[in-house]
């Protein structure tokens, strides 16, 4: 205590919470983040390919926007980008209600897989015996139920005993993966891989529209996007979700049964994931594997979180991510020095920049004023 006189020192940088940022600020911050991401990515690509950054971007662009003439018919790359975007968007849409409730459902990957598995089961066992409309109804119902069950379990334990939902849903993913692996092992029998389901009969396949089986997916996801948007914003249940997410005390004050809302919302979240699995199996792949969800279950978490529960923003962000992914593979295909895995690095860099940019929207930084000096 020899030095009893001290001068209070303000820290060099003071960070304080900011109120809601105006829309133009949000836009500017996001655009800056994107530009930063593209610059970092360009440097990364340049390091390995020595490509001119401008060429990099134009090649990336071709990943989505150039017509590419295939063997039988010309495939529009845009359509393929839209297909992957639809998958990603669908999962993000499914997560929106849960996230709005501040419920960390990171089990989308598993919920999608279970939906896909249910669809595959129906295709496998009822493909020959049911008429098309009945078959599709059964596929849809089964996938919804399977996804919903996967969402219900963690919600139930969370509502009842406050079991940590993040860890619970994470574990459920891997159980789903093993369940899918188990069923595909049964189905493949002695063959080395399972292959396409109902190759001969095409039972349970989505119809070919614009020469693509997955075209229907795009319409389903577009519909879901609008439905969930309306549900969250204009329905009574959506209102309850907002209140529960904001404050449990307020919800109780308003007479809302919090447990019921938590469970119901997670059933909805899981059910939409189940639908995504249904579309992926019946529309996109006509097959099932542990990679059916393709890791999009995790990427969608980031999409949903960044879009702040607005399903239309989710569409923009998912398009952006898929666009970049496809662009990166295009580069990998066109030039040496890069390979397909560069796509995930490039995506991750963009995600990092977007995540980091949130900080500048939520906090303001003040530098210490020069007046106070240490004695």
């Amino acid at each position: 205590m020899s030095n009893s006189t001290r001068i209070g020192r303000e820290p060099l940088i003071r960070i304080s919470k900011k109120d809601v940022a105006p829309w133009w600020q949000k836009a500017v911050v996001r655009v800056v983040a994107l530009i930063a991401a593209l610059v970092i990515d360009a440097i990364f690509i340049y390091l390995f390919t020595k490509m001119n950054p401008l060429d990099v971007f134009s090649t990336m662009f071709k990943g989505t926007f150039v017509f590419d003439y295939g063997t039988t018919f010309f495939i529009n790359k845009l359509l393929r980008t839209l297909r992957d975007m639809a998958t990603l968007l669908c999962i993000a849409i499914a997560l929106a209600p849960a996230f709005k409730m501040k419920f960390w459902n990171i089990g989308a990957e598993g919920q999608v897989l279970m939906g896909g598995l249910a669809t595959a089961c129906v295709m496998q066992y009822f493909g020959d015996s049911l008429h098309t409309p009945a078959l599709f109804m059964l596929m849809l119902t089964a996938s919804i139920v399977a996804g919903a069950v996967w969402g219900f379990l963690p919600a139930f334990f969370n509502a009842k005993w406050k079991t940590n939902e993040t860890l619970f849903t994470l574990m459920m993913n891997y159980i789903a993966i093993d369940a899918v692996a188990c069923m595909t092992n049964i189905w493949r029998g002695d063959k080395s891989a399972m292959g396409t389901i109902n190759q001969a009969t095409q039972a349970g396949w989505f119809p070919n529209i614009f020469n693509q089986r997955f075209t229907l997916n795009l319409f389903i996801v577009a519909a879901l996007m609008i439905i969930v948007f309306v549900y969250l914003r204009y329905s009574k249940q959506g209102y309850e979700i907002s209140v529960v997410g904001e404050s449990e005390n307020t919800a109780k004050y308003a007479g809302i049964n919090v447990k019921k809302v938590v469970i119901r919302t997670m059933i909805i979240s899981g059910a939409i994931c189940g639908i995504c699995g249904f579309m992926t199996v019946a529309g996109k792949d006509q097959a099932i594997s542990t990679a059916t969800a393709g890791g999009y279950g995790f990427t969608a978490i980031i999409v949903a979180w960044m879009a702040k529960f607005n399903t239309f923003y989710m569409a923009i962000i998912s398009f952006l991510i898929v666009f970049l992914e496809h662009g990166a593979s295009e580069i990998a295909n066109t030039y040496g020095g890069l390979n397909d895995y560069a796509a995930s690095v490039i995506t991750a860099v963009i995600l990092f920049c977007l995540i980091g940019s949130e900080f500048f929207l939520n906090y303001s930084i003040k530098l210490r004023k020069g007046s106070k000096k240490e004695a």
Binding site: M1, S4, T5, R6, I7, G8, R9, D19, V20, Y234, S235, K236, Q237, G238, Y239, E240, S242, V243, E246, S247, N249, T250, K252, Y253, A254, G255, I256, N257
Partner: protein
């Protein structure tokens, strides 16, 4: 004179509010000083400046005769100042000993035995009882408090500040605490106790410093003080506020509370056998030191608080049969046809949804009416527009999140909504806390309008002047018990002040078990 701590003209402002204005007083070595004042008189703020949590805007602090700057709790520790806060800062899963050494920079290895020995030595020296190996989550409130005191002593503090230490203790525990405090004083330590319980002030302290509305009043020797004199100094002369008080309109029994008892998570009775009646057409004021069960009382009536025993009966206007509210959820109470409005203390954490606009908040309690799957946005919007105009709520738009509004406007939105539902009972908790004068008067006017309509208004307040000018009857709570009901028209401030701080013998006896 050998002062341990001296404050000179200390001023602290929070925005426009001045919490402390030019406060000067001193604490001697080896004395117990009580810091006495009403709710919101700035006692805790003042002490937080000594413990390094706040930094004064003006004035000097002297410790041991030298001017010092205390900019963090660490600085305070270095100067030998330790504060025991009302809300304990302890890690639940740690043992007592682990909590004691937390964050200490002592060199050497982590020797549990040596730490326990040192703790035991402190315990023996002053007469504490504490098991160093006990986990905090297994401790009673008084044990946690003991632990906090030992934590401070272990760090070598010789100036101890206790913020309302007896608020959570039983009479026996209080006595024990006082005896160790006296031991510490005899050991040469200086102790500051923030309190408003007069008999405790008189029984334990050597001197009393009094604060009123952020200003220092005086310091008196306890030996020369009386309860009446201290109460007068604490509450001050009655200030005339000129709040309207219309005569009660045809008072009929509306709410009858009988034997209401609630227990908090620590197992302490936060409401103890509370009984009273609230009449329609009257304003029932509820006075009491903060944390004496006001919040729990209102929440119990509203169906938000778990009740141990007792009943709350509601008499529908025009009916003689009563309806029981206990054991029902807010939704069930509403379904019974009970028109109950409640303005809770925590405006954004309970009464409103901060992220929603006025429109969204208007429907918080009745969004679920009707069978439509979708929300009815039209009526809430009209209501929001109406409230915005009538109460002059300043907001950029009806969809601006209410969190972004000023405190006064937030309260207008909340009170406006609760009144708009045409209640038969209107309960408000600290309805004017933090509001400017104009908004406060708007709230008083609204409450009086409700009263004139025959509504039973329950007003929990902290400003005695307001309570005395607004209420028809005033119920005084003290430590979760009803300490009497007085007539608002002829009661005096001193009378209520005494009732708030001293449990009358009959209330005290009534709860012995």
């Amino acid at each position: 004179m050998d002062f341990a701590v001296e404050l000179r003209n200390v001023t602290k402002r929070f925005g426009k509010v001045t919490a402390n204005n030019g406060v000067s007083f001193s604490v001697r070595r080896g004395e117990i000083l009580s810091l006495l004042g009403e709710n919101g008189s700035g006692k805790t703020t003042l002490m937080n400046m000594l413990s390094g949590i706040y930094y004064p805007d003006e004035g000097q602090i002297l410790v041991g005769g030298k001017e010092v700057t205390i900019s963090s709790p660490k600085d305070a520790f270095a100067l030998g100042i330790g504060m025991i806060h009302q809300h304990f800062k302890l890690v639940d899963v740690f043992t007592a000993a682990e909590n004691v050494v937390l964050g200490l920079d002592e060199k050497g290895k982590f020797d549990r035995k040596a730490i326990s020995d040192k703790i035991r030595k402190i315990c023996d020296a002053y007469g504490f009882e504490l098991d160093p190996d006990q986990k905090v989550y297994n401790m009673s409130v008084s044990q946690k408090q003991t632990l906090e005191i030992i934590k401070v002593l272990y760090r070598g503090a010789d100036i101890l500040i206790l913020d309302e230490p007896t608020a959570v203790l039983t009479p026996q525990e209080t006595e024990k605490l006082f005896s160790v405090i006296k031991n510490m004083r005899d050991d040469g330590k200086s102790i500051i106790i923030i309190t408003h319980k007069l008999h405790e002030v008189l029984s334990v302290s050597d001197r009393v410093a009094i604060l009123r509305r952020g200003e220092y009043v005086d310091t008196v020797e306890t030996s020369t003080a009386t309860e009446l004199m201290l109460t007068e100094m604490m509450v001050g002369k009655k200030v005339s506020l000129n709040i309207d008080r219309p005569d009660p309109v045809d008072p009929v029994e509306r709410i009858r509370v009988e034997g209401l008892t609630c227990v908090n998570s620590d197992g302490i009775k936060i409401l103890d056998n509370v009984s009273f009646t609230a009449n329609g057409g009257e304003i029932l004021g509820i006075a009491g030191i903060s944390g004496c069960g006001q919040k729990e009382l209102l929440e119990a009536i509203a169906g938000l608080q778990k009740v141990e025993s007792g009943s709350v009966e509601y008499f529908m206007p025009g009916e003689t049969e009563s309806r029981q509210l206990i054991g029902k959820s807010p939704k069930q109470i509403r379904r019974l046809g009970v028109a109950l409005s409640f303005v809770p203390e925590d405006r954004l954490g309970m009464g409103l949804v901060g992220s929603m606009g006025m429109t969204g908040n208007m429907m918080l309690k009745n969004y679920n009416e009707g069978f439509n799957f979708f929300l009815d946005n039209k009526h809430p919007k009209e209501l929001a527009e109406e409230i915005r105009e009538e109460l002059e709520v300043i907001t950029p738009s009806l969809n601006t999140p209410v969190r972004r509004l000023s405190g006064g406007n937030i309260q207008k939105v909340l009170v406006g909504r609760e009144i708009a539902s045409a209640p038969a009972v209107l309960m408000t908790a600290y309805a004017v806390r933090g509001l400017d004068i104009n908004t406060s008067y708007t709230i008083y006017r609204l409450l009086n309008e409700q009263k004139k309509k025959g509504v039973a208004v329950i007003y929990v307040g902290e400003d005695l002047d307001v309570l005395l000018e607004l209420s028809d009857k005033i119920l005084v709570l003290c430590g979760g018990k009803v300490n009497g009901v007085v007539n608002g028209r002829d009661a005096t401030k001193e009378q209520i002040g005494m009732m708030m701080t001293n449990l009358s013998s009959e209330s005290e006896g009534g709860s012995d078990e």
